[in-house]
Symmetry: C2
Subunit: 266 residues, 2 copies
Amino acid sequence: MSQSLPNIQSGGSLMLSWQVKDRHVLVIGGGSVGLSRVNHLLEADAKVTVVSKQVHSTLRRYGEIEMLESVEARGFQMKDLQMYEEISREDLLKLDLSKPESLDKVDDFDRNQKFALVLVCINDHVLAKQIYYRCKQLGLNVNLADRPDDCDFYFGSVYRRGSLQIMISTNGKSPRLCNRLKNFKIKPMFDSLDISNAVENLGYLRDKLRAEVHPGDDSRTIEERMEWNRKITDFYSIEDWCEMDTNDVEQILKQYPELPQLGTTN
Amino acid sequence: MSQSLPNIQSGGSLMLSWQVKDRHVLVIGGGSVGLSRVNHLLEADAKVTVVSKQVHSTLRRYGEIEMLESVEARGFQMKDLQMYEEISREDLLKLDLSKPESLDKVDDFDRNQKFALVLVCINDHVLAKQIYYRCKQLGLNVNLADRPDDCDFYFGSVYRRGSLQIMISTNGKSPRLCNRLKNFKIKPMFDSLDISNAVENLGYLRDKLRAEVHPGDDSRTIEERMEWNRKITDFYSIEDWCEMDTNDVEQILKQYPELPQLGTTN
């Protein structure tokens, strides 16, 4: 009857990579906090709309060179939360999902009309709280800067090299320490490796394995592919993966389903 | 006219700490993927409901010792997506937010009734896709395991020490490499430091600063507090913060708004 359970450390956050590529995101407030949010969002290819009476000069410049979906240099209005919605929420709920055209409408609403996230970066706490409630009524994910209790999610310090991203969080205890850990611990370690090359090599290997070397969608094929992928990733050191090029990866793939003899790639 | 803009590397994800403490989260599918999702969710104190015909023995055990909100050992039904909702979506949209009782209803719906996240971990792709569309119609955030195009968010490899969490992502290119970077780079570096003590020290300092040493909610006070907090965090090395105890932090706070003379804490 005795069973060993995983050791769960509660009290953490759920760390997730949010997919906002080509999705609308609303930033209310165009000061320095708004700018920092927008920079994060642009790295993730979101379609960003900024609404703010005062707009930071960098945000204005982003607007001029069309990096943003829209810059509305005016006071916020509650209807801005549904700026791109073309179907009413009531009609959306009425759609019969057994009809293919309903699925298209739902998809279009989700991918092209609603705000995936709403970021409120203004000093007017009364207005901010009103926006919060309206977001909750509409089912929109929202973050109020400096109001941790009114946030569905927090931002952290992120180290980035190509496709590699490392986020450091202290669950709100010390954002400044996150920043220092990034600059003095993570950065020196990963800057000294050509780690984005390792990521590209392994991404290439995985794609080619799925598309050409061992294609198929049944669960046995998937399991075989994943198993070899795990083994081959572990077969070389991280440093080896950093130093390889596409030719080396091709040589490794040729030996599938075997693992290479040591020394075959160098 | 020339203006230097931040260097934006597009093609990334938006990395966020999601707040699911005491929020309902639905996991559909109780196999090994479902279990791994549940473990992540329990670390973040979510109220987890699992619906699955087959339930992994560990999940069953979690259910028995009441670590989960509910384990429904049966086939999924579409109405499960609204299992805890007490107000209809139509009525929710009709609420007049100028009335205080409406705000309570919206808050209760958001915090206690709707699923903050829905995680689909089943092999039946047709059913999974139907669940996806229904989630989108209801405005629920959803992740379909192994279907990156049908996900609002992805999971990554997470290193955890107390309140410190570090997530490593390669934007889907090589989850296995994330795992190795965690085990062979991040873990040795941070395990050798008493880093969770540093986080606790800085969290204590920040709370005490706000509550006792320099309280107040006006923007000038906030700015002064943040400025000193930044300076004091940078004044000592990361290793110093790891080695201090609460008495040392108290000594530092006594000198506010000055910075300590070097050598005062050791």
